[in-house]
């Protein structure tokens, strides 16, 4: 019995991390209507940036995480202004294929710089520390990750719905042409959204590298998970990403317990089932177009 409760708890906490993978992708898709194929590399790139900074200067983990998140925010801004903004237009294939090129380039750059070995972010004893509740044992790191995820979702929700900047972002998502009449430069909004997406992705990447290992090739699988989170959850609200992430995390944790050799199989099957039964996603809004 306890095994199953622990499995469900682990699934939820894994799902929180997945939700964080999906959140940035969903923001980009919601505001710009483009798919960022390089999203997985943003996740993994964040982890590798942390490895190299930690190798050069010993920083407390929290400082390291904050620094990398800030740097990736700047990088996301730069990538959007210098590259992606130039190919936005009537053809959705162009930005998609541009980010495809970015993904291939980044992945192999990471291999050249760091080699193909798997690495992990060292956080000392915190990694294995656990909280014991009666007969239940819950890892402290997953718990903190989960709490941080919830906090970020809440902050983002507040920012989108109760600040002037958030209002501009939502208006741009609704009608990127008409916001220009309100004095909004949509390319700047896009750059800000990409920056936020990159920062969230990098944060998720570092949390991933704390709990397990990553290689430069881990990006593709993270992208696939992020896509699945977005599709399973749906579009139209950030909470849909949380729902999608938690659902996928639960399915992965339970299937790992019941059928250890299945890998991500049951998550994939969940996705196809959602597409068949509820194409707008668990918590998404039905779109007419």
């Amino acid at each position: 019995m306890n095994v199953w409760i622990e499995t469900l708890m682990n699934g939820l906490m894994l799902g929180g991390l997945y939700a964080l993978f999906g959140l940035g992708l969903s923001l980009i898709f919601g505001v710009m209507r483009i798919a960022n194929i390089a999203h997985g590399e943003l996740v993994i790139g964040g982890a590798f940036m942390a490895f190299s900074i930690a190798g050069a200067v010993p920083l407390p983990p929290i400082m390291l995480v904050a620094l990398v998140t800030a740097l990736m925010f700047a990088l996301g801004w730069a990538v959007q202004s210098a590259l992606v903004n130039r190919v936005l237009g009537s053809d959705p294939l162009r930005p998609l294929l541009l980010t495809f090129g970015l993904s291939v380039l980044t992945q192999n750059l990471l291999v050249e710089l760091f080699g193909a070995d798997s690495r992990s972010l060292d956080i000392g004893s915190f990694k294995t520390a656990a909280l014991t509740l009666g007969t239940l044992s819950v890892g402290l790191l997953p718990l903190v990750t989960f709490g941080l995820t919830l906090l970020l979702f809440a902050l983002l929700h507040w920012g989108l719905h109760h600040s002037a900047v958030g209002r501009v972002v939502r208006a741009t998502a609704d009608d990127p042409e008409i916001v220009a009449l309100m004095g909004v430069n949509r390319k700047q909004v896009f750059a800000g959204v990409m920056a936020l997406s990159a920062a969230l992705a990098a944060l998720a990447g570092m949390l991933l590298a704390m709990r397990s290992t990553v290689t430069p090739f881990s990006g593709a699988e993270r992208l696939l998970i992020a896509f699945e989170v977005v599709v399973i959850g749906g579009l139209g609200s950030i909470w849909a990403s949380l729902a999608g992430g938690l659902a996928l995390g639960l399915v992965h944790a339970v299937s790992f317990r019941a059928d250890p050799a299945s890998g991500l199989l049951y998550g994939h099957i969940l996705l196809l089932a959602i597409l068949l039964i509820r194409p707008e996603g668990l918590a998404g809004k039905r779109r007419t177009r």
């Binding site: 798919a35 090129g101 380039l105 050249e112 696939l224 994939h268």
Partner: protein
């Protein structure tokens, strides 16, 4: 007409390759021709049909596995089994279509990718297909080792030329017109009586059959197939790259792109990482500065020359 004669001469010259080229060159040739065929198949669906697939590597792998299973279970000569491998991939596409055709754009791309992952896991868990350790080619003894390289080359040549000619013929006619109308404006296309799902299904099946046959030929010469090799995402990445750089939605795109890809790969052969970095950078550059790819650049150049002449 002049085009046809040129193509025939080029085809005949290539067909003589096995008699003059060494073994290494022939293997490289097979690889290029397989990539051209796969890229034509992908380009038909994505470039002309507007359905961007991120799962064609699985159709490619399924074609390979079908070849191995058919030649083992039905005792067919592996070369004879190639078309059946194509049919198997098309049959699989027919099964997938009812689910995937509810999706558009990015969702279709992700759906294909997920379907590919499911296939990979399913194959590596199937005892019938040898599980994770794979299958040897059962009919290997029935084919002559001396002629194997040549036969494989000819099969690959026939497939690459055949796919190119077929896509060209298809797109030159009424069907191509309707397919492109559908890609550019579905609502308008519907209103003039184009049945979208049926046309998309036909294109999907043709594309799957092409990818399946390309996979069958590619794994034929390996004499062994594993899920790792058969469902390797590298094939997908290379295919997308070749089409982007050559010119998406253009007949000569896959050929030009393949030529450039192999040029890059062979000149940067000291480091596979450098090749892939160049590939990524080239894709970014093309999307920024020349979305029509090499084929688009050549068109523009030809137009400039014509204008010079008339001026």
């Amino acid at each position: 007409m002049r085009h046809l004669i040129l193509w025939a001469i080029a085809g005949a010259a290539l067909a003589l390759m096995p008699f003059v080229a060494g073994r290494g060159l022939l293997v490289l040739g097979v690889e290029m021709l397989v990539l051209i065929a796969l890229a034509q198949a992908w380009n038909l669906l994505a470039g002309y049909g507007g359905l961007l697939s991120l799962g064609h590597h699985a159709l490619f792998g399924v074609g390979g596995y079908a070849l191995y299973a058919i030649s083992r279970d039905l005792g067919l000569n592996p070369y004879t089994a190639i078309p059946f491998a194509g049919l198997s991939a098309a049959a699989l596409a027919l099964v997938l279509a009812p689910i995937l055709f509810r999706l558009r754009d990015v969702y279709f791309a992700v759906g294909m990718w997920v379907a590919a992952e499911i296939l990979r896991i399913a194959v590596s868990r199937s005892d019938w297909l040898g599980g994770a350790s794979g299958l040897p080619l059962a009919g290997a003894r029935s084919i002559s080792r001396d002629w194997m390289g040549s036969f494989t080359f000819w099969s690959a040549l026939a497939l690459a030329l055949g796919m190119t000619a077929f896509v060209g013929w298809l797109m030159a006619g009424r069907f191509g017109l309707r397919l492109r109308a559908l890609r550019d404006d579905e609502v308008a296309a519907r209103s003039i009586g184009v049945g979208p799902q049926r046309i998309r299904l036909i294109v999907f099946l043709i594309s799957a059959a092409g990818a399946g046959m390309a996979g069958a030929i590619s794994f034929l010469s390996a004499l062994f197939i594993t899920p790792m090799a058969a469902f390797d995402m590298t094939w997908m990445v290379t295919t997308v790259f070749v089409c982007i750089i050559g010119g998406i939605g253009r007949l000569s795109g896959p050929i030009l792109g393949t030529a450039l890809y192999f040029t890059l790969r062979e000149t940067l052969s000291f480091s596979p990482g450098a090749t892939l970095m160049a590939v990524g950078a080239a894709a970014i550059a093309v999307m920024l500065f020349a979305p029509g790819g090499l084929a688009g650049l050549i068109d523009r150049l030809a137009q400039l020359i014509r204008q010079e002449k008339t001026a």
